[in-house]
């Protein structure tokens, strides 16, 4: 585990810097002393087991939860994010795991929710054109942007959610399990998109349980375990080391399974 050397790969100052962030829900501390830096033009993967605090951390940055303690610096200035609209205003866009779409509204209305063009006489035509442009950039397969979101599949909803996060040209985009509900082609598209967003100079925070996807696009892999920092890795780190850090032991369910499979293979070979 090499923490400090990898923490600053880029020469520039971080856009977003967290120091000692803690969040308690009653007696439960969901996050304890989390440090995290995001630089422009890098993809940081946030990995960890269920309940490690990844989604809570994202929600703190999105203004959904207020941290119990700790400081957040955005472009060098100390800030507090009190509401989702403040986060959006700063340029921190989020795609939530529970997609946070309004099923009773159509795709255009969802993409522009809270950001409608021309508030006193909605410019439906311009919004529809922009919606199609965003969706086409994502190579999205949405049948009609005038259908309500309830009629879309899980993957289509995910694409709508991602399209929405790009609407305001954010500085940082956070994706909570962006590929969880997607097919092979859509997953590849989302990964392409993540790279495209990074190349535009934005910071990307991505939560994923899929190590293959994480290695494919991330510049750094930050591991959370039980609400604490548990190491920072490069995509080249071996799977055993990553899994060990995520589960907190070298002897874990994953390694035992791998060992058992190896044993089985060995005994089978012996028989032959």
């Amino acid at each position: 585990m090499s923490d400090t050397s990898l923490n600053k790969p880029a020469q520039s100052d971080p856009i977003l810097s967290l120091k000692g962030i803690s969040k308690n829900f009653g007696a439960v501390s969901a996050l304890t002393d989390i440090d995290l830096d995001i630089h422009a033009g890098e993809v940081v993967a946030l990995v960890g087991d269920n309940g490690a605090g990844k989604s809570t951390l994202i929600k703190v940055l999105a203004g959904v939860h207020k941290p119990t303690s700790g400081t957040i610096r955005f472009k060098g200035k100390q800030i507090s994010i009190n509401s989702p609209s403040e986060a959006l205003g700063l340029g921190i866009a989020t795609v939530f795991q529970d997609l946070a779409l309004c099923e009773n509204l159509d795709v255009v209305a969802n993409i522009f929710l809270g950001q409608e063009l021309n508030p006193y006489h909605l410019d439906e035509v311009a919004m529809e054109v922009r919606a199609w442009t965003l969706l086409n950039e994502l190579a999205a397969k949405i049948p009609s942007v005038r259908d309500v979101v309830a009629s879309l599949s899980g993957g289509q909803r995910q694409t709508v959610a991602i399209a929405r996060s790009l609407l305001l040209n954010p500085e940082i985009i956070m994706l909570d399990e962006p590929t969880a509900a997607l097919g092979v082609a859509q997953t590849a598209e989302v990964l392409n998109l993540v790279e495209r967003v990074r190349d535009k100079g934005l910071g990307v925070i991505m939560i994923s349980h899929n190590m293959e996807n994480v290695r494919a696009v991330s510049d750094r892999i930050v591991v959370l375990r039980l609400g604490r920092n548990n190491g920072v890795f490069t995509p080249q780190t071996s799977n055993e080391e990553l899994v060990g850090s995520i589960t907190g032991a070298t002897d874990n369910a994953v390694s035992r399974r791998a060992g058992r499979l190896a044993e089985n293979a060995a005994t089978q070979e012996e028989r032959i």
Binding site: L88, P119, V129, P143, V145, V148, V149, A150
Partner: protein, 422 residues
């Protein structure tokens, strides 16, 4: 059709419109297609205003066969007068129902509104407009209280407005004092407005042309904008068909009413308010936010909508409309009495919104539902009165109609969910 390959995306498609890239989707074209799409929608549970129109036809057929006076022009004019007062209250109810909330105190609020007119205008001699404004301010104040209780203290609106119902009823009785009722002077502009004033014939025909002209202009403008933006457009024939149908229907209704006393100004005011609210719901950011909060409040909050302010505006509008409804009913009855706003006013207003197609579950509805629903409710009340039935039967029948309306709403909702129409 010009071809723009970068807009067509990676999908193989002959169609070059920005929104017609996906070949899996069927699109209705022309008049036949529109009618077909309408039947499709109805089959999958997207009923819109259909149940209420069917219900209205049934109700009117039954009542006119029992008593031919029901469909006489003058009776319908009376019906419109009655619709206007409770209809305005119902228009406010639509607003809170869209959020998935409820206001049970609108009846009492309207009673307070009418009592305020009696006390301020008749007793204290305050100028009429100022008195009306006072009633509206009290309404807004109640709305602030309800929304504060809801958003700061988490009190369900069902309970807070139930408490408000009693408190406002008490306030109404207190204001009216021992006499129990205050008569509004006959011959005053207020009472004339509520009982006599009709839109002149020529003006009513002219006003009935406006919706058609509006539809035509808006339709053509949208068409041009969409064409310029390379989006698909509806056929001109379809637009002309809709405009012609609307105009003929409206002119026929106006013609029939003008055979009697004509169209009441008060009803004109009600329709104007409906049109304004419809614009607000469908064409403004505020209306979009109302729909979003009603559909998924957490999603609305996360996309940066100030949910508390939306609640505040909805409850304020609802209570103000209720107060205005009370003012109109005082004008209609030429008195502010202890009975104003009691009895079935409350439930009629809520029932009208629901019967008209505004969902009790939030996120679905329209301003027109107040207009359509109140016509149904008042038709029943009016018809039963013409048949000399007692109010006991009237309550039972209205109750049954409300139950049917809610059943249709929840069944349609289940069907919409299974057909992916939300």
């Amino acid at each position: 059709m010009t071809s723009e390959p970068e807009n067509a995306g990676p999908r193989p498609s002959q169609n070059t419109f920005l929104d017609r890239g996906d070949s899996r989707v069927t699109h209705a074209t022309g008049i036949g297609g529109t009618i077909g799409a309408f039947f499709d929608r109805v089959r999958t549970g997207d009923l819109g205003s259909l149940p209420v129109i069917v219900g209205l036809v049934i109700i009117w057929t039954v009542f006119s066969s029992l008593n031919p006076v029901f469909l006489s022009a003058n009776n319908l004019v009376n019906l419109l007068f009655d619709c206007s007062t409770v209809g305005v209250i119902s228009l406010g109810i639509v607003c809170v129902l869209m959020l998935g909330e409820i206001d049970l105190s609108v009846g009492s609020m309207s009673g307070v509104g009418s009592a305020l007119i009696g006390v301020l205008w008749v007793k204290l001699g305050v100028p009429l407009l100022l008195a009306v404004f006072g009633a509206l301010v009290v309404g807004m104040f109640m709305g602030v209280i309800y929304s504060t209780l809801r958003t700061r203290l988490g009190m369900p609106s069902f309970v807070s407005t139930l408490a408000g119902l009693l408190a406002l009823l008490g306030l109404q009785l207190y204001m009216l004092g021992s006499t129990g009722s205050i008569n509004l002077p006959y011959g005053s502009s207020m009472v004339n407005f509520g009982q006599l004033m009709m839109i002149p014939g020529w003006l009513s025909y002219g006003l009935a042309l406006l919706p058609g002209i509006g539809m035509l202009i808006m339709g053509l403008r949208t068409r041009k904008q969409r064409q310029a933006a390379n989006l698909s457009v509806n056929s001109i024939g379809e637009l002309v068909f809709k405009v012609t149908l609307t105009t003929i229907a409206l002119e026929a209704i106006i013609y029939y009413l003008n055979q009697g006393r004509g169209v009441p100004w008060m009803f004109g005011l009600f329709v104007l308010l409906v049109v304004i609210m419809n614009y607000a719901y469908t064409r403004t950011q505020w209306g979009r936010s109302i729909m979003a909060v009603g559909g998924n409040a957490e999603a609305a909050r996360r996309s940066g909508i100030n949910v508390k302010r939306i609640y505040l505006s909805a409850f304020m509008l609802c209570s103000s409309f209720a107060a205005l409804g009370g003012v109109l009913s005082a004008a209609r009855l030429a008195s502010a009495s202890q009975q104003a706003g009691t009895g079935d006013v409350n439930l009629n207003a809520i029932a009208a919104a629901v019967i008209g197609g505004t969902s009790l579950f939030g996120g679905r509805g329209s301003a027109w539902s107040a207009l359509l629903g109140i016509i149904v409710i008042q038709s029943i009340a009016n018809g039963l009165t013409l048949l000399n039935l007692s109010s006991s039967l009237r309550y039972m029948i209205t109750g049954a109609v409300l139950a049917i309306a809610v059943i249709v709403d929840s069944m349609a909702r289940q069907s919409r969910v299974s057909h992916g129409r939300a």
